[in-house]
Point group: C2
Chain length 253, copies 2
Amino acid sequence: MTFRLFIVGLGPGAEGQVTQEAREALAQATDLLGYGLYVTRAVVFGAADQAVPHVTDNREELGRARHALELAMQGRVPVVVSGGDAGVFGMASAVFEAVAEGPEAWRAIDIRVIPGVTAVLATAARLGAPLGGDFCVISLSDNLKPWDVVVRRLRLAAEAGLVIALYNPRSLARPGQLDLGLAALRDVLPGEIPVVFARAIGRPTEHVLSTTLSQARGESADMSTLVLIGCAHTKQIERPGQIPWLYTLRRVP
Amino acid sequence: MTFRLFIVGLGPGAEGQVTQEAREALAQATDLLGYGLYVTRAVVFGAADQAVPHVTDNREELGRARHALELAMQGRVPVVVSGGDAGVFGMASAVFEAVAEGPEAWRAIDIRVIPGVTAVLATAARLGAPLGGDFCVISLSDNLKPWDVVVRRLRLAAEAGLVIALYNPRSLARPGQLDLGLAALRDVLPGEIPVVFARAIGRPTEHVLSTTLSQARGESADMSTLVLIGCAHTKQIERPGQIPWLYTLRRVP
């Protein structure tokens, strides 16, 4: 018997940004596991009618992963869902961590990770081409890593001249960290570097704020915002009546 | 009159990894502009039958971008296509560079960038969850930036503890640079760090080589390979008869 488990990235939220592969996995689900918002989205995006929803909080990722692996061993077809791409601060890592720590039998499960459009790609596309050069993706949360590691990574990334995408920039429990991170970046980068706060890209509640590093304030972000920090080669194109286009030169002079 | 232009990411190559949005843009095309492989793929993925193909070499990106903008100004609906995501070492940056340098009228064109699944996401999904933590995406090509910038970025990214995805790792014109880049990384990272060479992920010619930093050799890559270099928290899970799963711990101890 083949035991199967899917880990599916649902994309940024708009139905048109889901891949066909993701839809096909959802259509096979007997169980859907994830954060409430993503389980709801999975149903909208075509999960099988009989799929049993298992909604858990975002802090319970390892328990959710183990539950999915147990369901797979019972011959069910659990689908673990994440927003964006499940491999980028989503559920994929938690599932493999659970496998590594779990019973040997779990290694025989046919685990398929279905990639998706992660937030930084959708945000960049909406703005123009700010990822035109090298870039990095950093979570600002210190739930899982020490804060001094976060700051060190920001500084080194800025010194390297990488465009920086910040996931999880701010939460109620961490209201001040984004300002500290921006201050660390100001030590390395000039104040006129473009900074964008992008929320709910591609959805009806979309909001984009374009500013500069010197003027950026943490209060412009919440947990659902992606913060994009340009590099020395990130340029703006002004347009009448629209947010400016942002792009990073492919060429480093 | 609205002038329109689409820039579309076609995903890694498998038809199931294309988004619905990308298909809808292709279906509206009067003209397809891109590298031959991607124009062919765009036709397979549902480009309008009457779309005129304009195939150009990868070294002619700015000229291709200007051509697309001129077609848009003629009232046609040009679709510029890239593999993966057009914003990640694809055509998006070239189009906006052409807009910035071009006539003012081009700023009125409704340019839509349709995001796609870029190679590093598809590769990570195939391997497990190697992007479980912070990561960066760096092009190893020095066609557009000095080689010392490339090496400096690699060293700083490794010092930061980021997982590193290398695009364009090797070409006929640059046969030795990947070995130089790997040598620079060995100065910073321990030799047992996992390294993966992944080619044509999700396609029939898929090839994956899992090794370590100390044993990695540039000759294992070509221009179509993505090279993924783990960090200190990237782990392997051995499986009978299969390539090992690779994942990066979400937690930095």
